[in-house]
Amino acid sequence: MINQEHYLDVARRGMSDLNVEALGTRAQNVMRVVTFRLADQLFAIDANSVREIIEPGPITRIPAAPVHCDCLINVRGAVIPMADLRVLFSMPRSACDEHSRILVVEVTLEGDLLVIGLWADAVLDVTNVDRAEISAPPKVGMRFSPSFVAGVGRLDGEVFFVPSIASILEMERARERDVSPT
């Protein structure tokens, strides 16, 4: 495990070195993100946490599982749970079309590295965002818990959310346990 993590780490560092060609101050101030769309909302997540982007294949539904993560997919021999941000952000779940993609991302949940799939109605771009332009989410006036979002920013005039996958999963898990104590 240590080994694998080590390689991942090296790979990640390698990736960011390649992507952020200018070193020094600029690298620290700029975040490389993958932008994607769910319903009419733009999202951005750290490109370093994205392992790959795949087209949807066969999906297996898990009966009696929480709605926001009730599916499994096979990513080259690994069984990976899917998380549907649309459920959590109270958005309509539209059927898959030719733009639908799955972002395979790494999340650290309670100290363990977890690989999960995220639905995207469309993946748009890999781009640089100035960290200074990402601010904390407003405390009120949102359709969902503010802790679901790590930050809010603007890209070409459009507002985007940086979802906080780990805290979403942790909160949902805690909530599930409260609802149905074992």
Partner: protein, 801 residues
């Protein structure tokens, strides 16, 4: 990744400490067994040696004293009383703590040695010395142990001062280890390929060997490759060293301490010498062997002579694969020729053999096996086989030899095993896909190949799984100490019986089982067994019995902790549960429900909190850990007969044979070993459309669950629904499915932590077409079926009334 030598030492030391503990416990049962005393002594000695090399001076110092005290037993100056063993066990714990690096601020070590000496009946002077200055003690106490005089760490142990006495002791002690004095030994060794890289200096090794006695060294450069193939960091030389004098294997082992596991080393005694036999000449005349042995040796000599020597040479030096595998046997065979009068011939044969081996460094796979064989197989006894038989044995496959010495093993990191399992899993999935494609193509050649690959991958799967499986005996043996200590602490006489140790479980599962079992055994001893007077009063055997057993039951492994104590007191449990607010005072519970209350958090019936149990944190933790392993826990108890707690676990976490079924639009796998039979769903049951009901199968009522309803499937039911009857222990349940698709090899992938609360499924697998299918958790479903059956029974009774 660099290897931390200290970590390696700790790991190996832990094994030695454990084996020391087992030996001490064995001694409690057979106090007069000299072999056990020797084995304990050896464990201490090896620990001491490696401890001091890695800078664990406190360990070495303490062990030296421990060893010195134990040496008295070895020499028959003191007896292994229960008290000695009990102090020794504590001393062993102290060693384990020292190795962990906890130090000894309280001077516990000195106190333990004092206790040990007191138990052994050593004079007060020695004891005083022990507490005053542990470093000075070796001289103060007992003549230094010559047998273990260790050329590599003489200096630090201040032994030379006691040399005069040591020499005398050495002879005596050696007689006990080897049985007979040797006139010399011949070593054949080749250093591990990486030895030079790790800083091993071959010359220093030779110097150390020279300290053991006059030596004669022969080197063979036969394995040195051509210049372009030469790796300057590899040592290609092999050595033949003859040491004159009485040298114990231990001493040689000490010289090679750090490279011993990787290197090829053969130690052959020189028992008979011929005039042209080099430095052993002088000693050759003195024959201290018994008549029998000498005769045997002579017979061998004749046998070897009768056998054309050229054949032996050709075989040993030959290039055939078999010969390589059998090289250790070849070595055994040569020896008589050497003794019997053709020493040079024999020597050359030996070189030839080594050279042949060295020529294929990359095929070292056999080395650990061969090495283990050599190490434990006493060369002397191998030599006594008649020559004809020896020749026959050469042609035996190496596996036979391996089986004979079943202990041969090697350490592999868990990471690599996991990787292997992952890859085998992928192979199985790919193979399922291949079978599907081949089946669709109707191409006979392709079908044949697919079948062949299928067979191979199934074999590989079983082998790979077998590697991960560990017999529960390794875990059970740990509890002997626990029971021994509990018995002393609680003053209850008891007997510990373990059975089914050969039952195998996945290693990861076994590791997580240790703590729950400790709790259960503690409970059995502390709460389960009555104290000795009470037992006598009740007319029971005064010695209580705690049984730990393991057995296969279908796809499951059942581990039982049983005692023959008082049994659970339902009334007391009830009172207690009411008092601690777990149940309402008017709750209506049957006996088994009351018994299960002991698994509730915060429950404890012990009248007093002892250091052993009674804090009420045990049983609920046990239940949770077992459920975490997807297992179940059951209680069976009879008043005054005892209590048995059964833990039911799936036997593997990796790959199983599964039955593939369809429910609605989705496919699911059921572990095939849990499937008892499949029957048609009767029309009557179908029409009701109920979620669950009962069906009579061969005069037995079996509850069944309609999976479609449970999984919320919206698709219309299949026309030919089936009931798959599954069992978990003695609980049976039927699962209604839309279709039975067939069987498939199922690689179990654990569900991610996000889904750990999903109880219907024990994992997921990938089907031949790449789709993911969920694996039904039979244990959970069967239990659920049983609950529903009970509920409907109760309902029916109410209706009838």
């Amino acid at each position: 990744m660099s290897v931390d030598p200290v970590a390696t030492f700790r790991q190996e030391a832990a094994e030695l400490v454990e084996s020391l503990e087992q030996t001490l416990l064995d001694l409690t049962e057979a106090p007069d067994d000299a072999e056990l005393v020797d084995s304990a002594f050896r464990a201490m000695h090896t620990l001491k040696g490696s401890g001091s090399m890695f800078g664990f001076d406190d360990v070495a110092t303490f062990l030296h004293d421990f060893e010195t005290a134990f040496d008295r037993i070895r020499k028959g100056e003191a007896a292994t009383s229960a008290q000695v063993l009990s102090v020794s066990l504590r001393a062993k714990d102290h060693v384990a703590n020292l190795i962990e690096g906890s130090g000894d601020p309280d001077g516990l070590g000195a106190a333990l040695i004092a206790d040990l000496n007191a138990a052994l009946g050593v004079g007060a002077a020695g004891t005083a010395g022990a507490s005053a200055d542990p470093m000075a003690e070796p001289e103060a106490q007992v003549p230094a142990d010559g047998a273990v005089a260790d050329p590599t760490h003489d200096g630090m142990e201040d032994e030379p001062t006691a040399e005069g006495e040591a020499a005398g002791d050495a002879d005596e002690a050696l007689l006990t280890t080897t049985g007979s004095a040797r006139l010399g030994v011949m070593l054949r060794y080749r250093l591990p390929a990486k030895a030079l890289g790790f800083g091993t200096d071959p010359l220093l090794l030779l110097e150390e060997l020279a300290e053991l006695g006059p030596i004669r060294v022969e080197t063979s450069a036969a394995a040195v490759p051509r210049l372009e193939d030469l790796d300057p960091t590899t040592c290609y030389l092999s050595f033949i060293v003859e040491i004159a004098g009485d040298v114990a294997d231990d001493m040689i082992d000490d010289v090679f301490l750090f490279i011993r596991d990787e290197m090829e080393l053969e130690i052959l005694p020189l028992e008979l010498g011929e005039p042209d036999d080099g430095p052993t000449d002088g000693a050759a005349g003195v024959d201290e062997l018994g008549h029998e042995e000498r005769d045997a040796a002579r017979r061998e000599g004749e046998g070897a002579a009768a056998e054309p020597p050229s054949e032996a040479e050709v075989e040993a030096a030959g290039d055939g694969e078999d010969e390589r595998k059998d090289k250790d046997k070849g070595g055994g065979g040569e020896q008589p020729a050497h003794e019997g009068g053709e020493p040079h011939d024999g020597g050359r044969v030996a070189q030839g053999g080594t050279a042949a081996d060295a020529g294929r460094p990359s095929e070292d796979g056999m080395a650990p096996d061969a090495h283990a064989t050599k190490r434990e197989g006493e060369p002397a006894s191998a030599n006594k086989l008649p020559a004809a038989e020896r020749t026959a044995r050469r042609s035996e496959p190496a596996t036979a030899q391996g089986a004979k010495h079943g202990a041969a093993s090697m350490r592999v990191s868990a990471d690599r095993l996991n990787q292997l399992m992952d890859q085998v899993g992928e192979l199985v999935i790919a193979n399922a896909r291949l079978a599907e494609v081949a089946g669709a193509s109707h191409d006979q050649t392709l079908l044949n190949v697919a079948e062949e690959v299928g067979r191979l991958s199934a074999g590989l799967r079983d082998t790979a799984m077998g590697i991960r499986m560990v017999s529960v005996g390794t875990l059970f043996s740990r509890f002997r100490r626990l029971v021994h200590d509990l018995s002393a602490e609680l003053g209850k006489e008891l007997r510990f019986v373990a059975s089914g140790e050969e039952t195998e479980l996945d290693k990861t599962m076994l590791d997580q089982l240790a703590d729950p079992l400790v709790h259960l055994i503690r409970n059995a001893v502390d709460h389960g067994l009555e104290d000795t007077p009470t037992r006598r009063e009740r007319g029971k055997d005064a010695v209580g019995t705690v049984t730990l057993s393991a057995a296969y039951e279908g796809a499951e492994v059942v581990i039982t902790v049983a005692d023959d104590g008082a049994g659970l007191d339902a009334q007391r449990i009830r009172t207690k549960a009411i008092a601690s607010g777990i149940i309402a005072h008017d709750a209506d519970l049957d006996a088994s429900a009351i018994h299960r209350l002991i698994f509730e958090p915060g429950f404890s019936t012990a009248k007093a909190v002892t250091s052993v149990s009674g804090r009420g944190v045990g049983m609920d933790v046990v239940r949770r850990s077992i459920e975490g392993l997807r297992g179940a826990i059951e209680i069976a108890t009879e008043p005054s007969e005892g209590t048995a707690i059964k833990i039911r676990l799936p036997s593997t976490l990796a790959i199983i044979d599964g039955m593939l079924v369809r429910v609605g639009g989705a496919r699911y796998a059921i572990p095939l070993a849990a499937v008892e039979e499949c029957v048609e769903l009767p029309d009557a049951a179908r029409s009701t459309g109920a979620r669950n009901s009962l069906i009579t199968i061969r005069d037995e009522l079996v509850p069944f669950l309609t999976l479609r309803a449970m999984f919320g499937s919206s698709e219309p039911a299949g026309e030919f629904q089936k009931i798959v009857v599954v069992s978990s222990g003695d609980v049976r349940a039927g699962l209604v499915v839309d279709q039975i698709i067939g069987s498939s090899q199922t690689v179990i992938k654990r569900l991610s932590p996000i889904h750990e609360d999903v109880k219907f499924f024990s994992g997921a697998t990938i089907l031949g077409d790449g789709e993911v299918a969920l694996i039904l958790n039979v244990m959970q479903l069967a239990a659920q079926g049983q609950q529903l059956a009970k509920a409907s029974e109760a309902g029916a009774l109410e209706l009838a009334a």
